[in-house]
Each structure stands twice: as C-alpha cells, then as structure tokens.
Amino acid sequence: MVHAPSNRELLNEPACPHNHAVHGHGADAGSQAAGQGRKKAANGCKQKALPGEAQGGCAFDGSLITLVPITDVAHLVHGPIACGGHSWGTRGSLSSGPTLHRHGFTTDLSEHDIIFGAETKLRQAISAIALEHAPAAIFVYATCVTALIGEDIEAVCRAMAQELSLPVIPVHSAGYRGSKNFGNRLGGQALLDHVIGTRDADDDLTPSINIIGEYNIAGELWSIELLLRVLGIKIQAKITGDGRYVDIAAAHCADLNVVICSKALLNVARTMEQRYGIPFIEASFYGSANVSQCLRQIVDYLVDAQVVPLSLIDDCEALIESQTARMKRRLAPYRARLEGKKIVLYTGGVKSWSIIAAAQDLGMQIVATSVRKSTADDQARMRDLLGPEGILMEKGGASEILRVIDATGADMLIAGGRNQYTALKAGIPFLHINQERHHPYAGYQGIVEMAKEIDESMHSPVWEQVRRPAPWEVTA
C-alpha cells in the first residue's frame, strides 16, 4: 500500500464514459448521455465483487493482462503461488521477437517470508533475474498478501534500479483493490509513472503513432500494422501487444495516440495529452467500417498536423478500397450462408461493439445483447444499433440467456468463455470470444476469419446430434 496511487485518484477518469454521471462530458464523441442507469454507471470501472458470486479477475490479473504483452521484460510476481502460479503462459499474446514475457517469475512466498517480510527475497530475485535473463526491464507486481504485510516494493524497485542500472518498475496491483478493469488501469498508471517519457526515440522523423489497448491476441495487431506500413506510418509504441520496453519508454515521441477498444487505458492517452500534447482518438479494429474509419482518422490527423503529405489521403482511400473489395470477394460465400441469421450476443463491454460491427459486414442480425457491464451511453448506442425490437439483457446467467434465445428464435449465441459450456450443453451453436482464442478477428482479414468460424459453427452437424433423443428415450 506504500506510495501507491489511491483508488479514488485512479477512478477519476474524465475521459472515460463510465464516469459520465460525475463529469457529464467526455472524449467519446458519440456519447449521448441517457438518463437511466447513471448511478450504476458512475462506478462502472470498479465493478465490486459480491460475496458468494463467481467473479472475474482481480486488479492484479488486470495489471498482468495490460503489461505482460511487453515481450522483452521480465514480469516478477511478488506474492504467493495463487498469483504467481496461475499467471504465466496462459494468454495468447504473441510476440514477433523476444519471448521473455512468456516466463513466469515469482517470489512464491512461504509462511516464513510472510511473517518476517520478503523485501530481501524480492531484492535477490530482481538481481538473479537481471543476471540470468538480461531483461530490458523488470516489472514487479504487488499482490494482496505483499500489500497486506506492507512490503515497500516502490523503495525496493528504486534501490535495485540504481544498483543494477536497469529499469525496475513497481506495479501496485494488489488483487483486492478492485476488478480486472481497474487493474488494467493500474497497469497503465505504472507505464505513465515510470516508463513513458524516460527515453527518446531513435528515429523521431518518420510520422508515427502509438497503439494503446491492443494486446495482440492471436496476432491481431499485426494485420493492422501491415496496413499502416503500406501507408508509411510507423508504430512508435505498441501498448502493449508485441511491445518492446524502449519503444514504450519513447512513446511520448509519437504524433498521435490511437486507443483501441479500451476504456481502461484511456487514462494513458488522456495523461499523455496533458503531459506531452499528444492528441488521441478512439478506434476499433473490428468490422470493415471501423477499420476504414480508423485508418481515415489517423491519416486525416497526420495530414492536418502536416507531418505527412496531403497525397496520403488518396493513398489511404485506395488502400481502403482495394482491401474492402478483396474482403467482400472472400466474404461472399459466407455471406450467402449467414445473411439474415439471428445472433444473441453475450459478452462484456467493448467486445460487443466489435462483434456487432463484424455482424453488419456479414448481414447478420443481433437480436439481443448483454448490457450488464455497459454504461448508460453504451446502452443508448446499443439500442440504436439493435433497433426497437432488440433485447438489451440487464440480467446475467445461463437461464436468462436460454430464455432470450427461446424468445427470439436466435440461430446462434456468441459468448465469452464463462458461458461457453452452458451454451454448448444446451445444444445451441455458439462462437467463443475471449483472450484464449486462436484466431485473429481484427482488420479486413479478421472479418473473413470470423465469418469462417461463425459459418463452421452455425452449420456444424454436431448440433443436430447433441439434440437427438437417445434410443431409450420415448418421444411423445
């Protein structure tokens, strides 16, 4: 708990729509604050768990999600085995180079460590890692137990950074401080406090942007990187998917921040705007309309800022046209099979938008979606997109999903991992969207990928078989 920024400080995020009830305005251009549900929305980022529920990850987990994709860094978990043992090698955040981030380092605290303090052990652990793995930096994560016993990781990190001449970054990620979303933000805060702005870019001349909030699951970032490269736009820092420490340290040298589907890391963009005058836009890589819009926004901004020639606008349009045409060609067979199909969407927050966008490319209809984690603004936007018939599900749980599927005559459920087996066992086609997936859905190519998977699932012969009555079951 030492020197850690307080929860209240961090929860105060004017640029985050979850905060609208307090601040009444935000950077989110499309936001039309709806009246209902405001009180609930004000606390959207904290999402406090209730005793007796199965809940999402802790703040520590959220910090890991945000920071572990930095590939050339050693991620050291200062805590007991529940934290350190559960947290490595599980997520599909890919690297184009170093793989140090795939290792799990932990102090694996013993009872003795907890009683007598483990700062010495932490110091030794940092030295040992520095010596053996030559990391670009070491990130040290606080956990519930080390926060409870008052380990001063801030001081240890400072001392060790000096001793080793190596960045050693404390992350105040004690799990009990809040939800996974809150932890994402704590991770971003660690980058702001200790990393961004500590070094200059080697090449400050090429027009460049930072991508914030994209974790390169299944290599999704790469499809976008490719498009940008065609336009001659450099990504200075990937925050954090496939990221490198020195690139992020020099992130303040970029011309523009692009925040991808991430409310939790808006604080990074907002603070960088204040500190370094770097403007930011929010964008999505899912759905062709979004991808095109994202590219246009980036190019427009860079043209306005006069860091790229005016002709880039035409280049960008040409690229969008050729990519969209190619996508449409490849999508045609799937579209023919999927058009008009009804989907129930049950997934958290920002993921919904991506799928809604992709569904539009496929001509599919979203008949219901979960709004449990959505702000009032988001709910209003959902209402617009789904139309008056669309169901906004306020309640959660398997039985509610099944009820809505029944009521709408939906053809498919798209859900996160938690509901996957509930849905499967009920004999409903479903598509699984979460961090553990193996296929990239971002960019123009990603839509084709998603179409392929939706088609496979929707038309799979297994559904009929799992619904088929057994020979000994009497059918009336």
Binding site: P51, G52, P80, I81, G85, T107, I129, V145
Partner: protein, 431 residues
C-alpha cells in the same frame, strides 16, 4: 539420478530466491477440485476475487466443463476489518441462489495471513441463521504456502472425511476408496468399474468420475457440482468393510478415518504398474470371494503383450519428469517397469521448469503438464502430457492411466511417442 539426489544437487539458494516457470498451483485450487467430487457442492474460496477467477479459468480450460466456484470477495476494507462477515454473506447468498448440498469454505494466502477464523465464522453462521442448520458445510485450510494443488486436494479430502464420516455398523460389501489429486476423473471411473466387477460397492472419496468426466447433461444446472459422491454416502464412508487409500498424499486422511472408525486400511502409492494392479486385484478377490472377471484376465494378457511390443522403445530411454509428488511416484515406477530411466524427476516443491531445463542434459522425453510445452520446444524433445493443467490436448476428463486399462494406454501412448521420435531421427539421418 533419482528425484531425491536431484533435489540435493539443485542449488538451494537459487531455488529459494526466485521461482521461474513454476508448475505449482495453489492449494485452494486443489481443494476446490476435490470438493467438485461431491454432488451438489460448491467450493467457496475465502479471499479476494482473483484467486477464484484464476482457479476457475484453469479448471475450465483443463476439463472443458462448467466449474462452479465462488468467492467471498475480500476487498481493501474487509481485509482490514476481518473477513468472517464475508464468509457468512457468501454462504447465505449461495444457499439462496443455488441450493447447494455442500459448501466447502477454503482459505487462501490473504485470509490465512490475516488469520481469519473459518471454523468460527461457520459456527457464528449456524447461530445467526438457524434456517441453514441442515446445510452441510466443511472448512478447509488451504493457504498457498502449505504446498501445491495436491496438498490442498488432500486437505479437502481430510476435511470431508473428518466432517461427515461417522462410525457405525459395517455395511457388507462396501469399500471406501480415498483417492488423491493424481487420479483424474477417468482413473476414478476405472477403479470404480474394477471394484464393482467383483460385486463390491465402491464408495469413492472424492468421486470426480461422475462430476468431471465430460458427459452431456442438457438440462442440469451448472451452479453446483453435477455429479460425485453425495454427502449422505460420505457419512457412511467409515462403515465400509475396507478402507483403501490411493496416493501417499491422502494416506494420512484415510488413516485417520480408519483409526476413528476402527476399520482396516490398505494403501497404494499408485496403480500404474502391473505389480500394483495385481496387488489390488488379489485383495479384491479376497474381499469379495469371487473369481476375477474374464474381462480383466484378458486385459492383463493384453498388458503383457503390450509390454513385449513396446519394450524396444522404452529400453534405456532417458525421461525427465515434472509432476506433483503422487503422480511422479506412479509414473517413475511405470517407466522403470518398462525399462526406461529417470533422468530427472521434479515435484513443484523441489524446483521449477527453469531448473529442470538447466539440470537435465540430453533426454529422450519429457512428461509434464502443458505448462512444459515451451520448455519441450526449447529442449527439442517431445512432451507427453500428464498432470494439470493440460490446455492443448482434448479429453482430460476421460484419460485413464491406472489399472490394466490405464497401463495399456500409457504403454501405447508413450510408446507411440517414443517410436515417432525414433522414426524422425532415422528419417533425418537417412536424408
């Protein structure tokens, strides 16, 4: 080098300082898994929400089943004030929402460090909420620093037996079989089938076979464990003719039960060699007074044939192992019984995967969970997956590696891997 020799050869300072790619899992996860072998149960982890979420994700990814698991959701305030109230609130919420047949309250590092009194909280709950008097609750101390998954699993088994099993008149033909974390749902089913083939009544504690073996149940609720031994039957566990422990980790719990209920106890470290399975069959013949069913006679001859067919590939092979203690004991014995050598056998308490990589020279095969897949890639050897978690292979709820059937699976499965690797080497050298 044997496991004990190796643990001495690992630099003790190195392992005390930082653990790199540990394959240890929290005891609370192990305790939760054991509880899932009780019908209608829900494990409740007393700690902050992340421990529960992490354990749940691991279990779901391994078994590909819905896993009921709840948290007492400790936060900054309750961590300072004490979490007993959170336990009470959580049990109340669960009782109302999911009508569980058992709630198993497990401690985590956070609440154990605080010194929360789990049993006291349950007593208070009973006093305050008389309407819940009939709800079975058991308490498990499973703080992270007590060991790994296997230790937490064993602690839950001990608590189940201690809380529910009562002495009483012997139930003819009933055999209590106490199993440790090394036995997967498929293994438990294999043992049950074997015992029942002798006309005996097998009471498995816990019984993961029914709960996590991946059978399709369209309408069942997933808020509590769907299958498993009932609390009603657990109460009879001390009244069997015999008590059998499988796995050294659960021997203390089984012994306590046997002593308390004055029942005879036999124990097995594993059922992964012909010799061990023969021993069990001999006992079953004796207890039942029946002849061995033809099916098992035939299966035993198949094992012998497979031993002959596969011994070319096992012979003189060097194998590195990273598994929890009970499973390590069994797999080591199995490999030796096929003529292979153990280059290194590590438990998570002895070291981590990084140390394994450094300590082991040339080996022919690695046996561990899917956590070792990066390591196998770096070492350029094949990985045969056993243990927990396995997230890159299917069918983990069905895998059988005990009994004659399990021996056949191991012989063919590992044998094929060794054969494939040999052929690959030959291809390479003739190319």
């Amino acid at each position: 080098m044997s496991a004990t020799q190796l643990s001495q050869s690992l630099a003790p300072t190195a392992r005390a300082i930082v653990s790199t790619d540990t394959f240890k899992h929290s005891p609370a996860l192990g305790a939760a898994l054991a509880l899932l072998g009780v019908k209608g149960s829900i494990p409740l982890l007393h700690g902050a929400q992340g421990c529960t979420a992490a354990a749940k994700v691991k279990l779901v990814n391994h078994f590909l089943e819905a896993i009921p698991l709840a948290t007492t959701a400790m936060d900054e305030v309750s961590t300072v004030l004490g979490g007993e109230e959170n336990i009470i609130q959580a049990v109340l919420a669960l009782a109302k929402k999911s009508q569980p047949e058992l709630v198993g309250v497990c401690s985590t590092a956070l609440t154990a460090t605080r010194g929360d009194d789990l049993a006291g909280a349950v007593r208070l709950l009973r006093k305050q909420q008389p309407q819940l008097a009939a709800l079975p609750i058991c308490v498990i101390e499973s703080p992270d620093f007590m060991g790994g998954m296997q230790e937490g699993f064993a602690a839950a088994v001990a608590s189940l037996l201690q809380t529910f099993a009562e002495p009483g008149a012997i139930i003819a033909g009933q055999i209590t079989i106490v199993v440790g974390a090394s036995l997967a749902p498929g293994d438990v089913q294999e043992i049950k089938d074997l015992v029942e083939a002798f006309g005996l009544d097998a009471l498995l504690v816990p019984d993961l076979a029914d709960s996590l073996d991946g059978h399709f149940a369209a309408s069942a609720s997933t808020a509590v464990a769907q299958g498993g031994v009932t609390v009603e039957r657990l109460r009879l566990a001390g009244r069997s003719e015999q008590i059998v422990a499988i796995g050294a980790s659960v021997l203390p719990a089984a012994r306590l039960l046997a002593e308390r209920c004055e029942r005879p106890l036999v124990s097995f470290d594993h059922l992964m060699t012909l010799e061990a399975v023969d021993d069990l069959i001999r006992l079953l013949m004796q207890w039942s007074g029946r002849a061995v069913p033809e099916r098992y006679r035939r299966q035993r001859r198949q094992v012998q044939d497979a031993l002959l067919d596969t011994h070319f590939y096992f012979g003189h092979k060097q194998v590195a192992l990273a598994l929890e203690r009970d499973l390590l004991t069994g797999v080591e014995a199995f490999l030796r019984s096929c003529g292979a050598s153990i280059a290194i056998g590590l438990t998570p308490q002895m070291g981590d995967l990084h140390q394994l990589e450094q300590a082991c020279g040339d080996v022919d095969l690695l046996i561990s969970s899917s956590q070792a897949s990066d390591l196998a890639g770096r070492m350029g050897v094949s990985l045969y997956r056993l243990g927990f978690p396995i997230v890159d292979r299917l069918g983990n709820g069905l895998r059988v590696s005990v009994g004659y059937g399990g021996l056949l699976n191991l012989l063919i499965g590992i044998g094929n891997q060794l054969l494939i690797d040999e052929l690959a080497v030959n291809d390479f050298s003739s190319a």
